[in-house]
């Protein structure tokens, strides 16, 4: 679990934000349909409150920006999706159905439901693979993220790649 990762391996937030945003820009460039599907909801600020991670993530698709925030100073957001990291990753990678996660309470949403729906449909169609997206990164971002995520995958069994079909 991330909290067990020794602190020196966790970067301060600004470099992390730069790395995450670069990851996002790469994803958007490689999957242009995401922004098209978001349509008017691309300008929504959507907070992913990952409850078992040290920081929630704010997505601003139209600005192609992702930023991590400290819990003490949560940013304003149009919508919030709350849940454990495993649930988010499983949904992103097509391993578990998003509605099933909502029905069971594994994910909860508040705020602009239409924006969350647009994001969910856009990402589901994009068939993302975070590991692939990381490899596509060049420069300083990959060395920051890749070992941290590899450690996470090993320790937690979290889905960090696109899954073909459900368990």
């Amino acid at each position: 679990m991330l909290p067990q990762v020794p602190l020196p391996l966790l970067p301060p937030l600004l470099p992390l934000n730069l790395a995450l945003s670069r990851l996002m820009r790469g994803i958007v460039a490689r999957h242009p349909a995401i922004l098209r599907r978001l349509g008017p909801h691309a300008t929504a600020r959507i907070l992913l409150d990952v409850t078992d991670a040290p920081f929630p993530l704010l997505f601003e698709p139209a600005r192609q920006r992702v930023s991590a925030h400290r819990r003490a100073t949560l940013p304003t957001a149009d919508a919030v999706i709350r849940g454990k990291l495993a649930a988010f990753l499983a949904m992103l990678h097509g391993g578990v159905d998003g509605d099933a996660l909502f029905f069971s309470g594994a994910l909860a949403i508040s705020g602009d439901t239409a924006a969350v729906l647009a994001l969910r449909n856009a990402l589901d169609d994009a068939e993302l693979d975070l590991s692939e997206e990381l490899l596509a990164l060049s420069g300083r971002a990959a060395p920051v993220l890749q070992p941290a995520l590899a450690l996470v995958a090993r320790r937690t069994g979290l889905a960090l790649s696109r899954q073909e079909g459900l368990a």
């Binding site: 599907r37 909801h41 097509g94 159905d97 509605d99 729906l117 459900l166």
Partner: protein, 331 residues
């Protein structure tokens, strides 16, 4: 073998459905011409053409849903959708509006027409009317019918019948419901949405979770329990009888979903041509899992083998399932 007709809200879901064994996939354009006009969902014209090519290369069919009711003064939007579906090579279009059916029959005589469940054709007279007037080749039957009624219909009509076997149930006659526009101004018939996300809000009030549709309280649960999406007809309400008794609960329907797997052999004997899975708004994960399960069931029915036990509980709303109206006691 009965034809398995599967939902695809996105190109990724369509590919998942075809690879999971769908005989046919139904989908719509990204506008109000179909009844799943949700944010981020559906196909551009280009995506539709690519999807048809993908499906055809693997021996599957694509049916394009253009099943809302064209707006007066803006019929051209729906006419273009029919033309674009034909141009993309769709195997059929699924329509509900008589005016649009008349247009398609006249201007696209080679295009196969299916009658949407939105036309609420619930008896042989209705079905034969559409068959005679427009040359409709298949009808999607409303979910209000029993297996016996379906068998009786098949004896009296020449068109193929398609029956829902899995997914979210409409508790009212489809295509004839204005509950959503009563509360929000947006309806399935006019806008292709029901209980739209744009009018949904969740909140925590005094220790309870609430779900509202345009400020109408639809669900309330104890904090910590997940509160369902506020689909209007599945809400929790109260009703007083005027003599002092008050009923509180799901006045119109419990929020359960349909799973008619066990009735597939009976539906086959009743002459049903195609089985339909609901869920264009669901993920590619849902589609893959459900299609795989039902393809196995359809093959088992074809072989006269027993139906598999349903493994799909986690995907059904309310995590419980019903055979809907197909068993007689539902009324």
């Amino acid at each position: 073998m009965m034809e398995l007709v599967c939902p695809a809200g996105t190109p990724a879901a369509l590919r998942a459905a075809v690879e999971a064994g769908a005989h046919a996939v139904y989908c719509g354009f990204a506008d109000e011409t179909n009844a799943r006009n949700f944010p981020g969902l559906n196909f551009s014209r280009q995506e539709m053409a690519e999807a048809v090519a993908f499906a055809h290369a693997r021996g599957a069919k694509v049916l394009v849903a253009i099943n809302t009711f064209p707006r007066a003064g803006d019929q051209a939007l729906w006419h273009r959708a029919v033309a674009d579906a034909a141009r993309a090579g769709a195997d059929a279009v699924i329509l509900a509006d008589p005016g649009l059916l008349a247009f398609a029959a006249e201007r696209h005589p080679g295009l196969r027409l299916h009658l949407s469940v939105q036309a609420a054709a619930a008896n042989p007279d209705a079905i034969n009317l559409y068959a005679t007037a427009f040359g409709v080749r298949r009808v999607v039957l409303p979910r209000v019918l029993t297996v016996a009624e379906i068998a009786a219909i098949n004896r009296e009509v020449d068109v193929e019948t398609e029956v829902f076997v899995f997914g979210g149930l409409c508790v009212m006659a489809e295509g004839r419901c204005s509950l959503s526009s009563w509360a929000t101004g947006l309806s399935p018939n006019m806008n292709g949405v029901c209980s739209p996300a744009s009018h949904v809000s969740y909140s925590d009030v005094q220790g309870q979770s609430e779900a509202r549709l345009a400020d109408w309280l639809i669900h309330r649960t104890a904090k910590g329990a997940s509160v369902p999406y506020p689909t209007l007809c599945k809400g929790c309400f109260t009703s007083a009888d005027g003599k002092g008794a008050v009923q509180t609960g799901h006045i119109f329907e419990d929020p359960v979903s349909l799973d008619a797997t066990q009735l597939i052999p009976a539906l086959q004997r009743a002459g049903v041509r195609a089985l339909k899975i609901e869920g264009r708004q669901r993920s590619r994960a849902y589609v893959a899992q459900v299609v795989r399960a039902f393809r196995a069931a359809v093959e088992a029915a074809e072989a006269g083998a027993p139906m598999p036990e349903s493994l799909l509980a986690s995907l059904t709303e309310g995590q419980a399932a019903t055979t809907g109206s197909y068993a007689k006691t539902w009324r």
